[in-house]
C-alpha cells in the first residue's frame, strides 16, 4: 500500500483525520448469550467532514455512537479496539478526562431526546450547566449563551423557553433543545443518532438545514447515523454501511449511490420505493436480519445474498480496498 504523509493514512487523505476508530468491539454480555453489537469496526472522519453510518435496526449504529461517548450501558462493554480522537485514544482516558471531552469536544444528539434531557430541570439550566462546566462561565453568562443557542436553533421566544421543563415542549422543540445543547460548546465532533427520525418531514427539513449551517459555521465533523438513504445522499461526504455489527462497505457518497459493490448495499438502494416505477413490484432483500444470538457462519449476509457461493458460508470476508477509496467486505471481489 502507498504511504501517505503522517496523520493522513486514511484513503480520504485530503483532510486531516479528527477521529479514527480502529477495530472497535462492543459486546453485551447477557444471560442468554453474548450480543456482538459492534464487531470490529474501522472508520475515520476528517475535519469538517460528514460520515454517514447506515444500516437496518439492530445492526449496531447506536452502540457504535455510545462507544465513542463511552456511554455504553451495562451489561455492554468495549472489549477491544481504539478510538483516536485528535491523536488521543479516548478509551485510555480516566473518567475525569472523559468528562472534559464529552459535551465539549465530542457531543451527541441522541436517538431519543427524552433520554438526553433531564425532566426535572429547566431547559435553560441544562444548557447553562454544560457551559458552566466546560467554558467556566458564570451562571448569568451561561444562561445568556443558552438563550443565544436556542435562538440559533430557531426556537421562537427563546427567553421564555429557558424557563420551560422538557415535557412542556413539542417533540420538534425538544429535538432542537438537544441540538442546542450538543452544539453549545462548538464541539469539534458531533454525533447525530437519527436526529430527525421521529420528526415531521417539514420540521425534519428545518433541522437538517440547521445542521448544515452549523457545519459551515464551526467546521465541525459530523457522524450522521440513519437508516434513511435519502438523508445520506444529501448530507454526507462518505458512508459506512453496517450489517450485523460490521462495516460491509465504505466509500464516498457519490460512489456508494452510483456503483455500490456489496450485495447488501445494492439491495438497500434498490428497495427504496421512489426508485421503482409507481405501482410496480418493489425489489426486496429476502429473509430478515440475523438473530444476534445465532449469527450465520462465514459472511453474516450470506443467507440473504443472491450471489452467495460455498466460500461465503465458511470464510468470513474482510473489509478490503477493492477500488481507490472504496472498501468492501465480500468474496465476490477477490
Amino acid at each position: 500500500m502507498e504511504v501517505h504523509p503522517a496523520g493522513s493514512d486514511s484513503f480520504f487523505y485530503e483532510k486531516r483525520n479528527l477521529l479514527r476508530i480502529e477495530n472497535l468491539r462492543t459486546y453485551f454480555f447477557l444471560e442468554k448469550g453474548t450480543v456482538k453489537a459492534v464487531d470490529g469496526v474501522n472508520v475515520e472522519i476528517g475535519e469538517g467532514e460528514t460520515l454517514g453510518l447506515v444500516g437496518e435496526s439492530g445492526c449496531g449504529k447506536s452502540v457504535t455512537a455510545l462507544s465513542l461517548m463511552r456511554l455504553v450501558p451495562y451489561p455492554g462493554k468495549i472489549i477491544d479496539g481504539s478510538i483516536l480522537f485528535d491523536g488521543q485514544d479516548i478509551l485510555k482516558l480516566n473518567d475525569e478526562e472523559m468528562r472534559k471531552v464529552r459535551g465539549k469536544k465530542i457531543s451527541m444528539i441522541f436517538q431519543d431526546p427524552t433520554a438526553a434531557l433531564n425532566p426535572v430541570y429547566k431547559v435553560g439550566e441544562q444548557i447553562a450547566e454544560i457551559l458552566q462546566l466546560h467554558e467556566k462561565l458564570s451562571k448569568a453568562e451561561a444562561l445568556k449563551r443558552a438563550k443565544e443557542m436556542l435562538d440559533l436553533v430557531g426556537i421562537p421566544s427563546a427567553q421564555d423557553r429557558l424557563e420551560d421543563y422538557p415535557h412542556q415542549l413539542s417533540g420538534g422543540m425538544r429535538q432542537r433543545v438537544m441540538i442546542a445543547m450538543a452544539l453549545a460548546c462548538n464541539p469539534k465532533m458531533l454525533i447525530a443518532d437519527e436526529p430527525t427520525t421521529n420528526l415531521d418531514v417539514t420540521i425534519q427539513a428545518q433541522i437538517l438545514e440547521l445542521m448544515k449551517e452549523l457545519r459551515s459555521k464551526f467546521s465541525s465533523s459530523i457522524m450522521l447515523i440513519t437508516h434513511h438513504l435519502g438523508l445520506v445522499a444529501e448530507m454526507c461526504d462518505k458512508v459506512a454501511v453496517m450489517y450485523s455489527g460490521e462495516i460491509v462497505e465504505y466509500t464516498d457518497t457519490k460512489t456508494l449511490f452510483k456503483a455500490p459493490k456489496h450485495p447488501y448495499t445494492q439491495g438497500l438502494l434498490k428497495c427504496i420505493p421512489t426508485v421503482t416505477g409507481r405501482l410496480q413490484s418493489l425489489f426486496y432483500i429476502k429473509g430478515s436480519i440475523p438473530d444476534p444470538f445465532n449469527l450465520p457462519s462465514g459472511c453474516r449476509f450470506h443467507p440473504r445474498c443472491p450471489y452467495a457461493f460455498d466460500r461465503c458460508k465458511t470464510e468470513k470476508p474482510e473489509l478490503k480496498e477493492v477500488a481507490p477509496n472504496h472498501k468492501v467486505s465480500c468474496h465476490l471481489y477477490d
Binding site: 437496518e56 435496526s57 430557531g154 421562537p156 413539542s170 417533540g171 420538534g172 422543540m173 415531521d200 418531514v201 417539514t202 420540521i203 425534519q204 427539513a205 428545518q206 438545514e209 437508516h227 434513511h228 438513504l229 435519502g230 438523508l231 445520506v232 445522499a233 444529501e234 457518497t253 457519490k254 449511490f257 439491495g267 438497500l268 438502494l269 428497495c271 427504496i272 420505493p273 421512489t274 426508485v275 421503482t276 409507481r278 405501482l279 413490484s281 418493489l282 425489489f283 426486496y284 432483500i285 430478515s288 436480519i289
Partner: protein, 335 residues
C-alpha cells in the same frame, strides 16, 4: 371502476381533553370552557372501488382518527360516512355488525396489535367464527390457507406472535385483516415500524392482495416515497383538515397548496447529485387544541396574505379532480 365505495361528507371528530377530577370540578365551579382537540375538522373525500387513496400529513394531523372514523371504530362527532351506498354514520352497534366484516384495519405497530396469548391459527379461526364465515376444522384449514396467502407457512398456525419477526408480525396482521374477505382496508402506517428491506416485501404483499381480492385501501403514511409508490390518489392533511387532494400524478408533479409544496420538496432524494430546491418552513406545527384562525397553515405559510388570517379557505377544484383549499387560488374578492 368509477363507482364510489366510500364517501365522507363534512366529517368532524372532537376529543374532549381529559384533565382529571380537579379540572372537572373547577370547570363546574368557575365555568371554565372545556378544552377539545379538533382532530378532524370538516373533511370530505371519496374513495373509488378498487383504488388506493393515500393519506399523508404530519403526526397529529388527524390521519388515524379519520381512518378509524370511516370504519366506525370510533364515532364521529358529526358528518356522514357512506359505505357502498349506505349511510353508516348513524348505525347502532348491532346494525353495524353486518359492515364490520367488510371494513378492516391494519395498524402501525404489529407488536402491540396482536394478542400475545393466542396462537396465530386460533386467532384467525376465532376471527372467522366471529364473523360466521366458517367454524371448527374448516376454519382452521382456512387459517392455514390465509397464512400461505400472506407469505407465511401452514406450520406457523401453532406459533405465538412473539415467535415472529417484525415483518412476519405485520404479515399476520395483514392475514387477520384479509381473513374475513373485506372490501375495504384502512392501512395505518403499515410499514413505518419496519426496516427498509422488509418494508418492500410488505408493500408488495399489500399490492398483490389488492389485485387478487379486488380490495380498496385507505393507505395512511407520513412517508411520501411510500405514498407515491402505492397510491392512485392522494389526500394531504394538515391540522385536521384535508388541504389538497388529487391524483398521485397531480399531487407530486403539480402540488398546489403551499403546505403540499413544502412537504414534497422536503422528501430526501436518494441521489447525491439531485438538485434540491427545498422549501424550508418556519415555526412549529401549532397545537390542535387551538388551531390558528383563518387558514390553519397561515402562520407557517410563505405566501400568507391578510385574508388568510381571518377567512378559512374553501376547497376549490383547480383542475379536473384536483382540489385545493388555499386563498392563492381565489380571485381577490371571491370567497
Amino acid at each position: 371502476m368509477s363507482e364510489m365505495l366510500i364517501q365522507v361528507k363534512n366529517l368532524v371528530k372532537h376529543f374532549p381533553v381529559e384533565k382529571g377530577i380537579i379540572f372537572y370540578l373547577s370547570s363546574k365551579i368557575f365555568k371554565r370552557e372545556e378544552q377539545v382537540v379538533h382532530a378532524v375538522c370538516d373533511v370530505s373525500l371519496d374513495i373509488k372501488k378498487g383504488e388506493t387513496l393515500g393519506l399523508v400529513g404530519e403526526s397529529g394531523s388527524g390521519k388515524s382518527t379519520l381512518g378509524k372514523c370511516i370504519i366506525r371504530l370510533i364515532d364521529p362527532t358529526s358528518g356522514k360516512i357512506i359505505f357502498d351506498g349506505t349511510d353508516i354514520s348513524l348505525l347502532k352497534r348491532n346494525e353495524l355488525r353486518k359492515y364490520r366484516r367488510k371494513m378492516q384495519m391494519i395498524f402501525q405497530d404489529p407488536f402491540s396489535s396482536l394478542n400475545p396469548r393466542i396462537s396465530v391459527g386460533n386467532m384467525l379461526k376465532r376471527m372467522l367464527e366471529l364473523h360466521e364465515i366458517c367454524e371448527g376444522k374448516e376454519a382452521l384449514n382456512r387459517a392455514k390457507e390465509i397464512l400461505e396467502m400472506v407469505g407465511l407457512s401452514r406450520e406457523h398456525t401453532n406459533r405465538y406472535p412473539h415467535q415472529f419477526s417484525g415483518g412476519q408480525k405485520q404479515r399476520i396482521a395483514i392475514a387477520r385483516a384479509i381473513a374475513v374477505n373485506p372490501d375495504f382496508i384502512v392501512a395505518d402506517e403499515p410499514v413505518s415500524s419496519l426496516d427498509v428491506s422488509i418494508q418492500a416485501q410488505i408493500l408488495n404483499l399489500l399490492m398483490e392482495l389488492k389485485e387478487r381480492f379486488n380490495l380498496t385501501y385507505l393507505f395512511i403514511s407520513h412517508d411520501l416515497g411510500v405514498i407515491k409508490h402505492i397510491s392512485d390518489r392522494v389526500a394531504v392533511m394538515y391540522l385536521g383538515k384535508v388541504v389538497e387532494r388529487g391524483s398521485t400524478e397531480d399531487i407530486f408533479s403539480n402540488p398546489s397548496h403551499p403546505y403540499t409544496q413544502a412537504l414534497i420538496s422536503s422528501l430526501p432524494i436518494p441521489d447525491p447529485e439531485a438538485k434540491r430546491d427545498r422549501i424550508i418552513l418556519k415555526g412549529e406545527v401549532p397545537s390542535s387544541l387551538k388551531p390558528p384562525e383563518g387558514c390553519r397553515f397561515h402562520p407557517r405559510c410563505p405566501y400568507m396574505m391578510e385574508r388568510c388570517k381571518k377567512i378559512e379557505p374553501k376547497m376549490i377544484e383547480v383542475s379536473k379532480d384536483h382540489y385545493v383549499a388555499c386563498h392563492l387560488y381565489y380571485e381577490e374578492n371571491e370567497n
